[in-house]
Symmetry: C2
Subunit: 464 residues, 2 copies
């Protein structure tokens, strides 16, 4: 069995941590999770306010950089090498050039080895990183006292379109008789997004201005977007790349993935409609893309593997280079995904965010391994730190749609049906001061819950 | 008048250099040009084989890094600051983070100031960098002894579609009755390309494999591309970026451009046809993009400014944010652009490459300033080192088309007409071992010729 599917001691639900909050059954971050993050220690002296490599556990963050430099994690040279690589990759320093020598040595299994080492020092009975051993050391910090940064500064960003439910619903809006294009079931459709405007969770998103044209107008106008939307996606962070000209086989594809984040691919639907032909989305998408602070490792997700999308008999089989062969039954991942919204009025009245949708990543037509393999199939070189996003995750049920464009659609020719908020406010698209919160978790009997944390963004008014 | 339009002493055609080859009227690189480059000194000892910042002059390269470190160029602190910035930006070290503090200080005019300082030390009568003064110093090296690298490692790559002649011809192939989409004359159409696969001139281009589907076939197949093409483009290298959320006015747009390169946006037409709907080109383009070794500065191009494309009266005026207002008469650049091809058989018979096309950059419907302003109009943040390519440069004449897709097209419904090479060989698209050479230059009475050098690439066979 492939390493990424293997369930082992690190997934043991009985394993407890001396960080008490990690033992709460409701936490996203038990000792079985340990996602990577990058953070600033807001409480530290000036000299320490550089980006740190961290691991989230319960309501705390382990400062991996500090713990490793004290020799508290790595036990041998091989551990140190892996730590150096991770530090370089996840920090805001340059991982594209300076650390490429390190990263290229990060073989499959190295990240798993490091995760196991960190799990050992966080396990109950091994309190040597705790405050009682190192008073004032800030090795394990309260999460509320740190500022989470982008967990990776992506070199390149690719966005796919892997949900057949999303593609079919959106297609039906433009082509009621022929919603799905002929290539969809053969080609994992994707396009290049903008890496520079990827922002950390919590960063405000300024409403973009741009060209739009009303259906009955001759000329377009340049004005603030009036159909601002979110898109719920899952992003894969690339650990090791490939040489230009050298494809990656589907059997090796997941060895190139460090882990997953949540992605909000903010979209200006009115700009998109006017600009997107013939070369695809551009300004409708590149004003902002938010990612969550934590990279949940493929190792932590092993217990939640599930079959790839069950293609109906009438659908074509994937071409050989995209065929999972023997491991189709584990090529998917069952991740529950939710979108929540809080308006300014809801916050004023201290109301909880309202859930707009709930779906699962297992409903995607193409697996992550297929997306990655297709991307490199022409020899395109993936690089350490690249972000490959899934495209909007929408399931078959109407309330599992991952964007407002779908949620408020009521069928061809009909007026859009607004979403109603608990305050009585209505939404066809996002208003200024609306906050969107993406959440995700995995659950399975006999295992601890593995969560992704949150990916948040609030709409700021357009600049005049 | 804006600084980038200003003709001054640095353009004086009577100015000579003590590098004799720069005084040859046919050279691309007189002392009035001085384009930036990055190179490895192949003849240097191991410790010097790191990327160097250079300036091309005649058949030589000035090692700016070495000359500056000896205090031979910079005369005051301000010069040093500019040199540091240029070194960081153009070297293969990380300019995205480490040097951002330097780069952000590179105000409009700083690059011009540096160019003037370098011009002074290369002028006849000021031989203090020459071999006679510093024997064995390798401050001014024969170009044939160095390896030219990418002149910039682009952070983000955007490709536009700014030639109306290209858009119309290509559109006619798919939509004979309606070749130009309704948005074309309003929106400078663009999309994101792949930054990781941008390669230096001379790097072989491996024929990509991918999915294609014959018109009469039910299923696609995965096989080597059979319709491999080049695209002749001009690329602008971004000097200073903008903050996310802060657009750039058209009046300020060119202040953000360091200079121009030649770009070959290699294209797999059969892959493109099958994959591009609905999200645009992806694997058909991202296997390789070649750029020329030299960044020709906007200052050097000042004498060759010309009016923006003369829009017919029936065409709409650009929206206000894209309107050139008072300087429409200088917003274009008259650059002559050529494509040459050499087959293996031609090289075997020692024949010169054959010219396939010749056109001018002045035929573009959208100016560089309009492309850049549109890109940032939604708040998208451009970054130092970004590459903004024009899209295929095709003029109105059939022999000015910048790709084989257009050159071999003989009208709707007709079979393609091959290009005939001097050997009698015929080409509809590129064959293995074909070399494509892009060249460009500016000429005007009373000024020295300013050339771009060459952008070369040879097709290597598909990997099995």
């Amino acid at each position: 069995m492939k390493m990424m599917y293997e369930i082992n001691d690190t997934h043991d639900p009985n394993l407890k941590s001396w960080v008490e909050s990690a033992n709460d059954p409701a936490t996203d971050f038990p000792i079985q999770n340990l996602p990577w993050c990058a953070f600033l220690d807001a409480g530290a002296s000036q000299s320490f306010s550089t980006p740190r490599l961290g691991v989230r556990i319960g309501d705390r963050v382990l400062d991996v950089s500090a713990a490793a430099s004290r020799g508290l994690i790595a036990r041998d040279d091989s551990d140190h090498l892996v730590l150096d690589a991770a530090q370089h990759m996840l920090s805001h320093a340059d991982y594209r050039f300076d650390s490429i020598a390190y990263i290229s040595r990060m073989q499959p299994g190295a990240a798993a080895q490091l995760r196991a080492a960190i799990q050992r020092v966080l396990a109950a009975g091994f309190e040597n990183l705790s405050e009682s051993k190192f008073p004032g050391s800030r090795l394990v910090l309260p999460a509320e006292e740190v500022e989470f940064l982008l967990p990776v500064q992506p070199s390149n960003y690719t966005d796919f379109y892997a949900s057949i439910h999303h593609a079919t619903r959106v297609g039906a809006m433009f082509r009621p008789d022929n919603p799905l294009l002929p290539n969809y079931k053969w080609v994992p459709i994707g396009y290049h997004g903008r890496a520079s405007s990827i922002i950390a969770s919590g960063t405000p998103v300024t409403r973009p201005s741009g060209q739009t044209r009303a259906d009955d107008a001759e000329a377009p106008r340049f004005a603030p977007c009036r159909m601002l939307d979110y898109e719920l996606e899952v992003g894969a962070v690339i650990a090791r790349g490939n040489e230009l000209g050298s494809p990656i086989s589907i059997a090796d594809a997941e060895d190139h993935i460090l882990g997953l984040t949540l992605v909000n691919d903010w979209s200006a639907r009115d700009l998109q409609k006017w600009e997107y032909q013939p070369l695809g989305p551009f300004l409708a998408k590149n004003f902002a893309t938010t990612i969550s602070p934590f990279i949940v490792t493929m190792e932590a997700l092993a217990p939640f593997r599930c079959p790839a999308y069950p293609r109906p008999d009438a659908d074509p089989r994937p071409l050989p280079y995209l065929s999972h062969a023997g491991d189709e039954h584990l090529a998917g991942i069952d991740i529950t995904l939710e979108v929540h919204l809080a308006s300014a009025e809801m916050r004023r009245r201290s109301m909880h965010p309202v859930r707009l949708s709930r779906g699962s990543f297992k409903s995607m037509y193409w697996t992550l391994a297929q997306l990655l393999t297709h991307h490199a199939s022409n020899g395109c070189n993936l690089q350490t730190g690249d972000l490959l996003a899934s495209g909007t995750v929408s399931g078959p049920a109407p309330d599992s749609a991952g964007c407002l464009l779908e949620l408020t659609w009521d069928g061809p020719g009909k007026p859009r049906k607004p979403v109603e908020l608990p305050t009585g406010e209505k939404r066809l698209f996002l208003e200024d001061a609306d906050e969107i919160i993406l959440r995700a978790h995995c659950e399975r009997d006999g295992f601890r819950r593995i969560g992704f944390g949150e990916c948040r963004g609030t709409i700021a008014p357009a600049k005049s």
